[in-house]
Structure formats: C-alpha cells, structure tokens
C-alpha cells in the first residue's frame, strides 16, 4: 500500500493529518498498540517539523508485509548541523511558533526515541529528508 500527503509550511491547522491516517491504517492491520503509539509520536513530530521549519513537503508512506516506511521530503532551509539539531533543547523555532508551545527542541529526540530506525539527511538551502521505519512485530525492540 502506498500513500502520499502534501504538507504546507506554516499551516499548523492540518498538522497531524497524515499521522492520524497512518495510525488508522496500522490499527486496521492489527499492529501492536505500543508500536502504533511509537509510530504516531515519531510521525507527528516529523510532520510538524516540516510545517514549522520548511516551506512545503510531501510524505510518502509505504506499508509492506512486515513494516511501514514513512519518508518526509521537504523543500526548505535544510539543517546545517544535524548532530546539533538532534540534541534535546536545540531549536531555531520562531517566536510565533514558540508561543504555540512548539520549539522545545524535543521533536527530533522524540523521533529518535520512538522510531525503529530514523534517517535524517539535509542539504542547506534545499531541504530535508526524514525517513522513519517501523516494524509491525517486536514490541520489545525499544
């Protein structure tokens, strides 16, 4: 099964839509609830990061027999230092975004904690690609 969702930078009203669709699909597939929960956390944070930090993006979701791969490709400023961005508390969020309660610098650490596998690559001035892989089995692998 393959799905695609568009994300518009700066538009917070739809943030979480793709995560919610993925959650429904995983529940239909009877995936262990703990795994569904971890998928939701990682995907939501990735989705919000495109809204908060990039200009536009696409989410590509592929469900196969044993796993789901969620790839978020955005056009945006990119991340100059990914290692620094992964640190809890690091954030470049604007003051408007912070007033909404985003910008704690916890999103990427949340993704790292919850994804079975997380790949982040970025080109400054072009954009960022985040790939989250979740396996349907092994709830104890985290």
């Amino acid at each position: 099964m393959h799905f695609e969702y568009q994300i518009e930078g700066g538009n917070f009203t739809r943030a979480g839509f793709a995560s919610s669709e993925i959650k429904k699909k995983l529940k239909q597939l009877n995936v262990d609830l703990g795994i569904v929960k971890r998928t939701v956390v990682a995907t939501y944070e990735a989705e919000v990061n495109v809204v908060a930090h990039a200009y536009s993006g696409t989410i590509y979701v592929d469900f196969d027999e044993e796993k789901v791969v969620i790839r978020l490709v955005d056009e945006g400023p990119g991340i100059p230092d990914i290692e620094q961005a992964m640190k809890e508390g690091f954030s470049t969020a604007s003051s408007t975004v912070r007033e909404m309660g985003f910008g704690a610098g916890m999103g990427l650490p949340n993704m790292k904690k919850n994804a079975d596998d997380l790949q982040v690559s970025s080109e400054v001035g072009k954009g960022t690609t985040v790939q989250i892989t979740m396996h349907y089995q092994n709830p104890n692998n985290k």
């Binding site: 979480g16 919610s20 939501y44 919000v48 309660g101 949340n110 919850n114």
Partner: protein, 110 residues
C-alpha cells in the same frame, strides 16, 4: 473515574467533545510544550494546559487522551472546539490556575 465524574467533582466547564464524557481517566499530564506532551503523556490521561489552538486536539486524538482542561478561564478557539466535537474528546475549562487544578486532580486520582 470517568471524565463526567471529574467535571462534577471539580465543577469544570464542558466546552465540547461531550461524546467522550464516559472516558476512563488513567492519570494526568501538565505541560504547555506540545512535544513534551507528545513524548511523555499516555493514553487515558487528562491534559492540563493553557494552549487553546487546534493542535492540542490533534495531539489529544493521536495520543488517545481522556480529556483536556484549559486553565485560567482560557477559551478554546473555534476550530479547536469543532475538532473536539468531531473527535468526541472532552474539552473542559476552569477558572483555576495550573497549580490549583493540578493539585485537585492529583488528590482525586492518585
């Protein structure tokens, strides 16, 4: 305890999401940082916050929270309220500040 019982005991306003008043409460989480709630709140918890925009409902729904309590008489934005009704997640309110309502909630469900 159900959300309905909680609203009666603490005299909370029910702005919307009445369909979920039967939700069982497993605990509580208090934060105004959305990624903190995303990462650390758990299913069935009541979330106490001063954030009134629509993203709180998205988080409550994704995390299967039992209800949201807005403190200090903060009013929900219109689209927040609409989503609470669509999802059936109770959106509650109180005149109390975060410290007071958290203490009372803790006493009731600890």
């Amino acid at each position: 305890m159900t959300v309905q019982q909680l609203t009666e005991k603490l005299n909370l306003k029910v702005y919307g999401g009445k369909k979920g008043l039967g939700n069982e409460i497993s605990g509580g989480y208090v934060s105004d940082l959305l990624s903190d709630v995303m990462g650390n709140a758990d299913t069935g918890e009541v979330w106490i916050t001063l954030q009134t925009h629509k993203n709180v409902m998205a988080i409550a729904s994704l995390k299967d929270l039992a209800a949201i309590i807005l403190v200090n008489n903060h009013q929900p934005e219109e689209d927040t309220l609409n989503q609470a009704n669509e999802e059936g997640i109770p959106l509650l309110g109180t005149h109390m500040g975060t410290f007071e309502i958290t203490g009372k909630l803790y006493e009731l469900i600890k």
